[in-house]
């Protein structure tokens, strides 16, 4: 990512701004903020005579981060491409149901269940991508429309939890190595894969290019439609993984597991908190994971402090806007005119 960002800075500026630029890299800020938050949280929780980062606390933070992390990884790719996906929340619920119902308590059906859920997710992503690229609908409306369609399907067919996940598959949700859940490691592995894809492969570069300026990308020979569709398919598959993980944790599929947690807007918040530009073209997976961890740490700290749950929303909103305001300030230092929507 850093190479790409340096390339976008004009040569003359680079000589004068290089030091500033490196110091202000958003990903670094995110992790510094995370460390600061952990320290402050530990002190506050410590004042109550408890420990924030004991085995339970770490477990708590990582468990919270896993599902949101998976969704946010996908959302990062879509946002980098200059799009966004509002359908992920319902998709998480749908895939959890598909996985749990296909498995129906039988060990032999675990693999088919997972594959079917991922295939449906990929199909939804394909629809999202095609509606945006072929029908030329704005991503906001296209994915909102798909979200409404999924919601209609869920409301029409399900009233509550359905399906049954075999005990063997529940190990995915509950096994851990020391304080670290296996699923969190898998989420980090997916993040690493996505990072590699975005920064080390040609299709990944194309996502940055399309998000940076779709017209320039197209004129440079990038197949912009294919790139956007790919991003949406990958995003939906990531949401599907989150659904499968939640099914394994809950023991069954739940239609509103994604919307209750607000994964659509929450994942966008995590991505933007991680320093990715909402308009696309800048940012990356590392920042997103930092953003997810910040949100998870905030939640865990507030729970430990027994803060009113509604206060969490207030703080979350303030943190989100403050963080993006900071990034925007730093970007204007790099550009003569920072023009954001």
């Amino acid at each position: 990512m850093s190479t790409l960002q340096e390339n976008t800075v004009p040569a003359r500026q680079r000589t004068t701004r290089a030091a500033v630029h490196r110091r202000l890299h958003p990903t670094v800020i995110v992790y510094l903020a995370l460390v600061a938050l952990l320290v402050v949280g530990s002190v506050l929780v410590g004042l109550r005579g408890e420990v924030l980062l004991d085995q339970n606390g770490i477990l708590n933070i990582l468990t919270r981060a896993t599902a949101l992390g998976l969704v946010a990884i996908g959302q990062t790719m879509v946002i980098l491409t200059g799009s966004l996906d509002l359908s992920v929340a319902y998709l998480v619920g749908l895939t959890s149901l598909i996985a749990a119902q296909t498995m129906a308590g039988q060990d032999g059906m675990i693999l088919p269940g997972v594959l079917l859920a991922l295939a449906v997710a990929a199909g939804v992503g394909l629809v999202n991508g095609l509606v945006i690229t072929v029908l030329k609908a704005h991503a906001f409306i296209a994915t909102l429309g798909v979200a409404l369609i999924l919601r209609g399907y869920l409301e029409d067919n399900y009233t509550g939890p359905a399906g049954d996940v075999p005990r063997a598959f529940q190990h995915l949700g509950y096994d851990r190595i020391g304080p670290v859940p296996v699923a969190a490691l898998l989420m980090l592995a997916v993040a690493a894969l996505a990072w590699w894809y975005l920064t080390r492969t040609r299709p990944g570069y194309h996502m940055y290019a399309v998000g940076g300026d779709i017209e320039v990308a197209r004129l440079s020979g990038v197949r912009t439609r294919r790139t956007i569709v790919t991003a949406h398919v990958l995003c939906s598959v990531a949401a599907g993984l989150a659904g499968i993980y939640l099914a394994s944790r809950l023991g069954s599929g739940a239609p509103y597991v994604g919307t209750d947690a607000g994964y659509d807007l929450e994942s966008i918040a995590a991505v933007v908190l991680g320093g990715t530009l909402l308009a696309g073209g800048r940012g990356g997976i590392a920042g997103t994971i930092g953003g997810v961890l910040i949100l998870a740490t905030l939640d865990t700290t507030f729970d430990a402090l027994e803060v009113d749950p509604f206060f969490k929303d207030v703080v979350r909103g303030v943190v989100l806007v403050t963080a993006v305001a900071l990034y925007a300030r730093r970007m204007t230092a790099n550009r003569a005119h920072g023009r954001l929507t």
């Binding site: 029908l135 030329k136 409306i141 909102l144 409301e155 017209e215 009113d308 925007a328 204007t332 954001l340």
Partner: protein, 338 residues
């Protein structure tokens, strides 16, 4: 001088769509064979139409306002808590709620323009803050009750000469709509559309870009407060009153042929989009479509409507996936707005 209706691009299909829905209503529903049925529809649709007008102002200038749903909930909950059944309180609570909406809009606008945070994020943050703060203040469940005087605007009717009893909400809606049309035809309104079309050009030609966008957000907040007063009167106190209204208002605006990202579309079409959406719900109800499938139908229709608008719009808009305010070279378009 002969007067000809000046319809902005995308307005005509929106009006045709609305007409089709209204004809469909007339065929399906016996209540819609006389004006009273349509008046009731208009009364039901008034809050959403007012929200759509506010949302239009923000969208046409190139932003989003996701905070209006939470603002409506906050407005209703605050009013209920402050009035608490006290008839005399409505007189000062109504201005207070309107002022609150204006304040929230101003904060949205100031953060967007001064701190350069994308409006999507600002208003998303405002949504979280408002939702959290409202329930923090009320302790989880809305308390208090609205007075008759407050609820009058949402469900009462006024005697109008020649027309008979017309609901207050319809009168308020008409007043706002007329004001919005006049505003959009004036210099400030046109400059607002220009900001959405090409911010850099407006800035270079001496337009007050920040002030215009601030105005759009402030008006959106104010109109959301008006919608809160109407909805509170119409539907009563509930913590869910504003749920999902932000997406519904954006859908309505887009259904009216207004381009997300700004610069194109008319305020009348946006209001027509909101009326279309409400008519669509009514029609689906009358046709006996189950509540669950309603959202699916809504999803299909907004995708089709937007696809139609942008495919019909030609190549010009094809590359606008996300508003980027780059200096696209585009043929000059007379930005007529009505």
């Amino acid at each position: 001088m002969t007067w000809r209706p000046r319809l902005a691009e995308g307005t005509a299909p929106a009006l045709v769509f609305l007409l089709l829905l209204l004809i469909g209503l007339a065929i399906v529903g016996p209540a819609y064979s006389e004006p009273a049925g349509y008046l009731a529809l208009l009364k039901r649709a008034a809050p959403l139409m007012i929200l759509a007008i506010g949302q239009y102002l923000v969208i046409v200038s190139g932003g989003f306002d996701l905070s209006v749903g939470a603002l409506v909930t906050a407005g209703v909950v605050i009013a209920a808590r402050l009035i608490d059944g006290d008839e005399s309180a409505a007189a000062w609570v109504i201005p207070l709620v309107l002022g609150f909406g204006l304040l929230v809009g101003l904060v949205n606008g100031l953060i967007t323009t001064k701190l350069l945070v994308p409006s999507f994020i600002v208003t998303l943050g405002m949504l979280l803050v408002l939702d959290g703060a409202t329930f923090l203040w009320t302790g989880g469940a809305p308390r208090g009750a609205l007075s008759e005087g407050f609820r009058m605007f949402g469900r009462g009717a006024a005697e109008v000469p020649l027309l008979g009893a017309v609901p207050w909400s319809v009168l308020i809606l008409l007043a706002i709509l007329v004001a919005a049309v006049l505003f959009m035809r004036g210099g400030t309104g046109r400059a607002l559309v220009a900001v959405g079309d090409n911010e850099a050009t407006v800035r270079l030609s001496g337009g007050q870009v920040d002030r215009l966008r601030l105005l759009a957000f402030a008006l959106s907040g104010l109109l959301a407060a008006v919608a809160a007063i109407l909805l509170g009167g119409f539907a009563g106190v509930s913590a869910q009153v504003g749920n999902g209204l932000e997406f519904r208002a954006i859908t309505a605006v887009v259904l009216g042929g207004v381009l997300l990202g700004g610069g194109r579309g008319s305020v009348v079409a946006a209001a027509a989009g909101a009326l279309s959406l409400e008519s669509l719900f009514t029609l689906l109800n009358l046709l006996g479509v189950s509540g669950a499938l309603k959202s699916a139908v809504q999803g299909v229709i907004i995708i089709v409507a937007v696809a139609y608008a942008s495919l019909g719009g030609g190549v010009r808009q094809r590359l606008r996936l996300w508003p980027k305010q780059r200096n696209h070279v585009r043929p000059a378009q007379p930005a007529s707005s009505s």
